[in-house]
Symmetry: C2
Subunit: 337 residues, 2 copies
């Protein structure tokens, strides 16, 4: 039940004022070495520790930053958070995590609570498609940074990967391997990341002089089951596709499993490329080609952009767009025809 010692306790002990104690502890040059030594000794003897809450109230900075993600139990977001943490901790910042489960209501609620917890910044991978909910953050002058799933807002920085390039590379790779009837199974295209990956897919086809077959294009949520279902409908088309670019590793895996169940050989009869480089894609017996989004780097970079923004708080608002380059990882599921 040790009552915490404050600078007042130390002051009383030494018959000086709290102001002196504070200055001594903060290496203020207006304090003589003699008293400083006394204070430091008393402080350590009394197990003094600065109360960060009081400091935060005085300074108006909590040294906490909020991170909002759809979920924390996926490798991608887990790694991003890890990157953010590793970059921010050494600077004395703590990371407060919130999950939205892709619900915009929850996302709003999370932002709300983070704001009045007085966080020094909000790093978010949003599920919103409109900027309205973020106006308030801007108004309060709280640094806001998007990562992965961003929105286009003036004066707001973001760290993303080039999703267009990711979609393009994956598709071009399949084309280069000789596949010509390439399907696309992607996520909700009202989200920029999915829209961009899709655009990359289309562009790659166009650049190769291949035509875009609307019936080859499926929009669905990321899950094994939806991957299987996608195959079921694609396989009935005439001519049926012989390759698939997905914006999700889970869809890719579901598709591969279904293809095998139906007796197709992957990649000979049907090639598949996923997206995100989830761990299981390289653990499979027959590994899955995918696109690496460098989540650790994304997290680190997001944190760096935040720190930069904090430093220049007084100056003009800066808008920084960092776009990481995705890496195509070719594995068994698309290796040869």
């Amino acid at each position: 039940m040790a009552k915490k010692t404050t600078i007042y306790d130390i002051a009383k002990e030494l018959n000086i004022t709290a102001a002196t104690v504070s200055r001594a502890l903060n290496n203020n040059p207006k304090i003589s070495e003699a008293t400083r030594a006394l204070v430091l000794e008393a402080a350590s003897k009394m197990n003094y520790e600065q109360n960060k809450l009081a400091l935060a109230l005085k300074r108006g900075r909590s040294h906490n930053v909020g991170v909002v993600v759809p979920r924390v139990d996926s490798n991608f977001f887990g790694s991003v958070i890890r990157g953010i943490e590793e970059e921010l901790n050494p600077h004395g910042y703590h990371v407060i995590i919130c999950q939205t489960h892709e619900s915009t209501e929850r996302e709003s609620a999370n932002i709300e609570t983070l704001l009045n917890a007085q966080v020094d910044g909000i790093l978010i991978s949003t599920s919103y498609t409109e900027t309205k909910p973020f106006k308030k953050v801007i108004d309060k002058n709280v640094p806001l940074i998007f990562f992965d799933r961003k929105l286009q807002m003036d004066g707001v920085s973001s760290v993303t990967i080039n999703d267009f390039e990711g979609g393009y590379k994956a598709t071009k790779h399949l084309i280069d391997m000789g596949y010509k009837r390439i399907a696309h199974v992607g996520g909700d295209r009202s989200l920029l990341i999915y829209k961009d990956r899709f655009s990359g897919y289309k562009q790659a086809l166009l650049d190769a002089g291949l035509e875009i077959n609307e019936s080859y294009i499926i929009e669905t949520k990321s899950s094994l089951q939806n991957g299987a279902m996608a195959i079921q409908s694609l396989i009935n088309l005439d001519p049926k596709p012989n390759a698939l670019v997905s914006s999700s590793d889970f869809v890719a895996l579901g598709a591969i499993q279904e293809l095998k169940r139906l007796g197709y050989n992957v990649p000979q009869d049907f090639a598949v490329v996923g997206f995100s480089n989830e761990p299981f894609t390289k653990f499979m017996e027959s590994t899955i080609s995918t696109v690496n989004q460098f989540p650790l780097e994304m997290g680190r970079m997001t944190a760096k952009v935040f720190l930069e923004q904090i430093k220049n708080a007084s100056k003009v608002k800066i808008e920084k767009k960092v776009v990481l380059d995705p890496e195509l990882i070719v594995r068994d599921s698309s290796k040869s025809k």
Copy 2:
């Protein structure tokens, strides 16, 4: 740059005192309905929001809890954190995450910073084997709860799974399937979880009247590579084992891959059971038997124990040990002989 409005601003606006405003906002019955209405209206008009920092300083409670884990980018800890979050958020608590990377120095540093960030509790999966670093937390009267990787400390609650039972069930399952020469590849046994899993393994053998072969027992860190290496050494023994219980899914996978590379059939020639139910274990073409630790429930339960502890803060210290029952999940890697 909207300067935040405080209760003083509202007070000035209405020509009353801040005390009245505070009471009105807190539904204190000493305030007349008339003024309360006025205050509420002014508050919403002026976009008032309570400054939690000031509140925290006054109350001595920050409504933040610290969660310390080896890492956040694994499915197991990610899920535990998710469970904690989901349970704690509705009660107004925020979760501050720290990673230790299994380093005890980092763990100490994390505890230190959490303490002077004035967290209301620390939930931790420790890498320590001694209780000394936690004395300070106890002294400061900050609720401390261990989960998964715990230490035995008087008056400290914990939420774990029955690791002994997990090891026992996995081993007994292999025995029931007819395997008699069962090896064990586990983690550092100075950590309780690994020691217990190992004990379960031994007990299952003893109960079945099988003898314990010391050369079948390997202690190593969790990784694919170490799994492969374990197989390399086990396979040279005479008589060579024909099954393996591991305390890690990664070791199990590494072992399976190496076995296949060497031409063995899994599970006919050699059965394998892992531990933790990592996602990839069920995504593989040939799935991996494992032990489910119910991480989401573990997280939720840990949070509940914390909330309970907070509520009874004034009363005697309570020590609550929650032990979840692990579930053996039988899959391809051990299904038949």
